[in-house]
C-alpha cells in the first residue's frame, strides 16, 4: 500500500452498555476515493461501523483511524477537528426543520469558522459561497431560503447531503440514506452520491439494506453479519450465494428495492 488508507479499522470492537455486541472484531481498510457499500441484515452492525468512524459511537477495543489519525474515544476538540473532515448523511435527514435550507447547510461549516461567528449566525462570505455551491451540486439552489421542514422527503435528504458537502470533507458516511424515500427518489439520491464520489473524489461509505441497490451503485461491497465482516469484494462479482452467506438466509422480495416497488 503506497497511499495512506482513508479509513482503517484494526481489531475494532464495540460493546454497548447493555451488553449487546455492535462490532465483534473488524479489520477493514478503505482507500481514498473508494465508493463502498456496506450490506447486512438489521442489527448486523452497519450503523455501528459508520458511527465508529466519526466517533459518534466510541470503540470498546481496537482502533479506527481516519487518514492515519486515530479517532479519539472521548468528546473534545480533537474529535471535533476530525469530524470536520467527515460528512455524515442520515436515514432520517436530521435537519432542523424550522431553519432555512441555507442555515442547515451552513451548519456544515461550524467547525471551519470561529465559534463566535457560528454562534451569531454571521458566516463569512467564503463559507456562504461554499454552502451555495453545495446546494448547486444537489440541485436545490432555488430552495435556499425556504424553511427546511416545508420540503419533500427527497429534497430534505438533499439538504442533508449539501450540509455534508459544505464541510468539504475527505470522507462521506451515509447511514441508510434512502431508507425513508420512495423508489424514484431513491435512485436519484444514489446517483447523486455516486456523482459526488466521482467528481470530487470524496471517499464514500454507504449503508444499504437493498441488495439490488448495492450491486448497482457500489464499487466494492462489504458484507456484515453479527458484527463481523463476512464478505468483501467487487460489486460486479458478488453472487446470490454471497448474499445468502451475508444474510444467513435466502434473500427475499423485501431485500430488493424493485421487488418492493412491484408489490
Amino acid at each position: 500500500m503506497i497511499r495512506e488508507a482513508a479509513i482503517r479499522f484494526e481489531g475494532a470492537r464495540v460493546v454497548y452498555p447493555n451488553g449487546a455486541v455492535g462490532l465483534a472484531s473488524v479489520d477493514l481498510s478503505i482507500a481514498p476515493g473508494e465508493f463502498v457499500v456496506v450490506v447486512g441484515s438489521s442489527g448486523a452492525g452497519k450503523s455501528t461501523l459508520l458511527r465508529a468512524v466519526n466517533g459518534l459511537t466510541p470503540l470498546s477495543a481496537g482502533s479506527v483511524a481516519v487518514q492515519g489519525q486515530p479517532v479519539p474515544r472521548s468528546e473534545g476538540r480533537a474529535l471535533r477537528r476530525l469530524r470536520a473532515q467527515v460528512g455524515m448523511i442520515f436515514q432520517d435527514f436530521r435537519i432542523t426543520r424550522r431553519l432555512t435550507v441555507m442555515t442547515n447547510v451552513l451548519v456544515g461549516r461550524v467547525a471551519h469558522v470561529p465559534a463566535w461567528r457560528a454562534m451569531l449566525n454571521l458566516w463569512p462570505a467564503a463559507d456562504r459561497e461554499i454552502a451555495f455551491r453545495a446546494l448547486e451540486r444537489v440541485g436545490i439552489t432555488d430552495k435556499a431560503w425556504v424553511r427546511a421542514g416545508d420540503l419533500s422527503g427527497g429534497q430534505q435528504q438533499r439538504v442533508g447531503i449539501a450540509r455534508a458537502l459544505a464541510q468539504e470533507p475527505a470522507i462521506i458516511l451515509a447511514d441508510e440514506p434512502v431508507a425513508s424515500l420512495d423508489p424514484v427518489t431513491t435512485h436519484q439520491i444514489m446517483r447523486d452520491l455516486v456523482r459526488i464520489n466521482q467528481e470530487l473524489g470524496i471517499t464514500t461509505v454507504v449503508n444499504l439494506h437493498f441488495l439490488d441497490l448495492a450491486r448497482r451503485y457500489g464499487q466494492r461491497i462489504v458484507g456484515l453479519r453479527n458484527g463481523e465482516v463476512v464478505y468483501d469484494g467487487r460489486a460486479e462479482s458478488v453472487t446470490q450465494e454471497d448474499f445468502r452467506h451475508i444474510y444467513g438466509r435466502d434473500p427475499d422480495a423485501g431485500d430488493v428495492l424493485d421487488g418492493q416497488a412491484a408489490r
Binding site: M102, F132, E136, G139, T141, D142, A144, W145
Partner: protein
C-alpha cells in the same frame, strides 16, 4: 443540466415586525421598571432591617405548632368542601360549553363567556367577596374555592369533551335517546377519567389556595398567618410556611400518583 440555476436572493426579513416587537418589549420593560418604583436607595434603607428580620425568622418557633393543628385541619376541610361542590357544579358548565354537546348556540355562547369571566378573577378576590357577603370565616373560603374549582375544571374538561369520539353519542340519539341519555351513556363515560384527573388537580390547587385564603379573612391557617405576619412574629411565620409547604407537597405527591394511574 448544463448551467447552474440562478441563486435566489435572500428574502428581506420582516424588519418592521422584528423592530416593532423588540421596541414594544423594551418599552414595556422600561415602563414597568419605573412602574414598580425600583429604587436602590430605598432598597439600601430597607436591607438592614430586612436582614435582621430574615435572621430572626430562623429557627422557626416549633412550640407554636400545637396552635396550628386546628387551623390546618380547617384549611383542608375548606379545600374538600370547595372541591366537591365546585366539582359537581362544573359538570353542567363544562357540558354546555362543549361545542359538540351543547344544545344550542346561545347557551354555548353565554356559558363560555361566563366561564371566561370566572377565570379572570384570582382566587383571593373571590375570597374577599364572599368574606364581605357571608362574613369572615371558613364558609367564605369554601365558597371562594367552589367558584375557583368550577373555573378550573369546566375549562379543562370542556376541552376533553370536545375531543371525544361522537360515534356512540350520535348512536344514542339516533336510537331515540334524549339529550340527557346521550350525555349519560354516550358522552360523559368517555371523558370520565379526564374529569377525575382534573378534579384531583383542582383539589391540589385548592389545598394550595386554601392555605392563603385566611389572609383576607376567609378561614383556615391563613388567618393565623395574617395575625403573626402583621405583628412581625417571623419565627412563627416560618413555622406556618413550612407546615403549609409540607402539607401541599404531600397532597400533590399523592394526587399526582393517582392521576398518573388514571390516564
Amino acid at each position: 443540466m448544463s448551467d447552474a440555476v440562478t441563486r435566489p436572493l435572500r428574502p428581506a426579513r420582516n424588519w418592521a415586525l422584528i423592530i416593532g416587537a423588540v421596541t414594544a418589549v423594551t418599552l414595556m420593560t422600561w415602563w414597568s421598571g419605573r412602574g414598580i418604583r425600583f429604587s436602590l436607595t430605598e432598597l439600601a434603607c430597607n436591607l438592614p432591617g430586612g436582614r435582621r428580620l430574615l435572621v430572626e425568622s430562623w429557627p422557626p418557633e416549633f412550640s407554636f405548632f400545637p396552635r396550628l393543628l386546628a387551623p390546618l385541619l380547617e384549611t383542608l376541610q375548606i379545600a374538600v368542601v370547595g372541591t366537591v361542590i365546585g366539582g359537581i357544579l362544573a359538570v353542567p358548565v363544562a357540558v354546555l360549553a362543549a361545542r359538540n354537546l351543547t344544545p344550542g348556540f346561545l347557551v354555548w355562547f353565554v356559558d363560555r363567556n361566563f366561564m371566561n369571566i370566572l377565570r379572570t378573577l384570582p382566587d383571593l378576590f373571590w375570597a374577599m367577596l364572599f368574606a364581605a357577603a357571608v362574613g369572615f370565616g371558613p364558609i367564605a373560603g369554601a365558597l371562594a374555592l367552589t367558584v375557583f374549582t368550577v373555573a378550573v375544571i369546566s375549562k379543562l374538561w370542556s376541552e376533553s369533551l370536545e375531543a371525544i369520539d361522537m360515534g356512540v353519542p350520535e348512536a344514542v340519539r339516533a336510537s331515540g335517546g334524549s339529550w340527557l341519555q346521550m350525555l349519560q351513556f354516550g358522552a360523559i363515560p368517555q371523558a370520565l377519567p379526564h374529569y377525575v384527573s382534573y378534579a384531583l388537580y383542582a383539589f391540589e390547587l385548592n389545598v394550595r389556595a386554601s392555605m392563603i385564603l385566611g389572609l383576607v379573612g376567609a378561614g383556615g391557617i391563613g388567618m393565623v398567618l395574617e395575625t403573626q405576619r402583621s405583628t412581625f412574629e417571623y419565627p412563627r411565620v416560618t413555622l406556618i410556611v413550612l407546615s403549609v409547604l409540607v402539607i401541599v407537597l404531600i397532597i400533590e405527591q399523592v394526587s399526582e400518583s393517582i392521576r398518573r394511574r388514571l390516564i
